[in-house]
């Protein structure tokens, strides 16, 4: 019972912390570019404003268009609830493993792309087609990274992966370095950050995520944006907890949980700074160069698997 209560609290923390992470990245980025920048709490204000506003829906919209925001958000939130965020060993982590997690994202993306095409505007269809192009290249890479990790720890369940890494004595796995780098590149592509998509733009021919949700307004838009922030948060937690697992709570005591919360906050803050520095120093690449970028991610993940087979198994 205690475990379930903790799991619900953890999922809530993940969902309500996500806008702060997005705001934090934006704030650091503004400071790096010598701009004033909105406070990190600004996404909360934006979301609450959008939730209070009315919605405007095109006459041509089908039920899919109305359904999609709720579906996308709830699937993403479900994916967030299985993530080991502060503690491992919670009952929710048994619901799904990493492969199901990738499947959740695919489901959310499917409805997002459908909603983009539903109203029939040119922007929506363009955004959907781009999103599907990118995801079809990113998914093999992320699965390859997941398999590399799973071969080392012999499990695909996130909680048992992390506990295996913490219980075993420290080892320098070459495969983890490659899988980590590959996963970072995939994260950038999947969450629509700068070399692939520009999260700051709102009306630009090259936008991808914004193009799909261009027709949404009011609470639908709020849910879509919140889901995107949640996705960034989930990927951040995935990288932080898989590759730097130290600090996560192994037991469910108050002290361990407090340490876990502080550790994950610190890790995510550092990751946010890294993302902001990368976004400041890189320029958005041409869409037709994205396959090369994701090809590099795939090669990294493939090298991770090869170096696991060649170097780590004897």
């Amino acid at each position: 019972m205690n475990g379930w209560a903790l799991a619900v609290i953890q999922a809530g923390l993940l969902a309500f912390g996500a806008p702060f992470l997005a705001g934090w990245v934006k704030w650091v980025k503004c400071k790096l570019q010598c701009r004033q920048g909105p406070s990190p709490w600004q996404p909360y204000r934006n979301l609450s404003k959008l939730f209070r506003k009315d919605i405007v829906i095109s006459e041509q919209a089908s039920p899919v268009f109305r359904m999609a925001p709720y579906l996308v958000f709830s699937v993403t939130a479900l994916a967030g609830s299985v993530m080991p965020f502060v503690a491992i060993g919670l009952p929710t982590s048994a619901i799904a493993d990493v492969i199901v997690l990738v499947g959740f994202f695919a489901l959310a993306r499917f409805f997002l792309a459908l909603a983009g095409m539903d109203v029939g505007t040119a922007f929506g269809g363009m955004g959907s087609s781009r999103e599907m192009t990118i995801s079809s290249l990113a998914e093999p890479a992320i699965l390859m990274a997941v398999f590399t990790l799973a071969m080392t720890v012999s499990s695909t369940n996130l909680a048992s992966m992390i506990s295996h890494l913490l219980v075993e004595p420290f080892q320098l796995y070459p495969s983890f370095i490659f899988a980590g780098m590959g996963l970072l590149l995939v994260t950038v592509a999947e969450t629509g950050r700068i070399p692939v998509d520009n999260p700051a733009t709102h009306l630009e021919l090259t936008m991808i995520h914004e193009a799909m949700i261009l027709e949404y307004s009011g609470r639908h838009l709020a849910l879509m944006e919140w889901a995107a922030m949640l996705k960034l948060m989930i990927y951040g937690v995935l990288i932080a907890n898989l590759f730097i697992p130290w600090g996560i709570a192994l037991e469910l005591t108050p002290l361990a949980l407090a340490i876990g919360l502080v550790a994950i906050t610190g890790k995510l803050a550092v990751l946010g700074v890294v993302l902001a520095v990368a976004e400041t120093s890189l320029a958005k690449m041409r869409f037709f160069r994205v396959p090369q970028f994701l090809g590099l991610a795939f090669i990294l993940c493939l090298l991770g698997m090869l170096s696991h087979v060649i170097l780590e198994v004897r």
């Binding site: 080892q171 320098l172 070459p174 090669i299 493939l302 090869l306 170097l311 004897r314």
Partner: protein
């Protein structure tokens, strides 16, 4: 997982081996000449660190000399020489288009698998804990060869050749704790002389055919 049995220094050597392989892939994919030279220097630096680590772990101090040669030649002298040549030939901004680069990358991945299978029986003969790196160094050699085949420009081909030599050096260091000193010195001077000769050669090629693209050599006629 028997990797836990290894001390941290040997895990470091294995990690460096993986990184050397990664720089080989980068060399294969890199299209800008100057970045290509820098990546080659990084590969040399990784090789230097691996050699120093092996020298310290195994207690064979003559490897330190070979590490010093690697540092002086492959990290500083040859990249500097190549860079100077590129500046003098005025091809600094050249971007070489590598045809169907993803296919080449998949080919390189297949080469790694191939060298793994080839090296499996050799691995059984060696007693060293770093014997797993034989497959990696073989893969570096083969990828260097692939780079010579797929590139058109002479500078990139020379870098492919040098990275093959890196692979050979790494194989010698990790599989047998280095070659005899005479051989190592010989190889080092070989590379040095090759680097200088290639420099002269670049100018000859360009004077002869007006370009560094060696594909033009296929169509040489005595009279047009």
């Amino acid at each position: 997982m028997q990797m836990a049995a290894l001390p941290l220094s040997e895990q470091m050597i294995l990690t460096l081996a993986a990184l050397i392989l990664f720089t080989s892939f980068l060399l294969l994919a890199q299209t800008r000449i100057v970045t290509l030279i820098h990546t080659f220097a990084w590969q040399g630096a990784l090789l230097f660190f691996a050699t120093v680590l092996v020298a310290i772990v195994s207690g064979r101090h003559h490897l330190l000399i070979s590490a010093g040669l690697t540092l002086a030649l492959k990290v500083f002298f040859i990249p500097w020489q190549l860079r100077r040549l590129v500046v003098r030939l005025d091809i600094r901004r050249d971007v070489e288009t590598v045809g169907s680069s993803s296919l080449i990358m998949i080919g390189a991945g297949a080469l790694v698998l191939f060298s793994y299978y080839v090296a499996l029986p050799i691995r059984e003969l060696s007693m060293l804990s770093t014997r797993n790196t034989i497959a990696i160094s073989l893969a570096v050699i083969l990828i260097g060869m692939l780079m010579i085949i797929t590139r058109r420009k002479a500078v990139a081909q020379v870098i492919g050749f040098m990275s093959m030599e890196n692979g050979l050096m790494f194989a010698a260091v990790s599989a047998t704790y280095g070659m005899p000193m005479v051989v190592e010195l010989g190889v080092a001077f070989d590379v040095l002389v090759a680097a200088i000769l290639f420099g002269v050669f670049f100018f000859q090629i360009r004077n002869g055919i007006g370009s560094l693209n060696v594909d033009h050599l296929n169509r040489l006629n005595e009279v047009d």
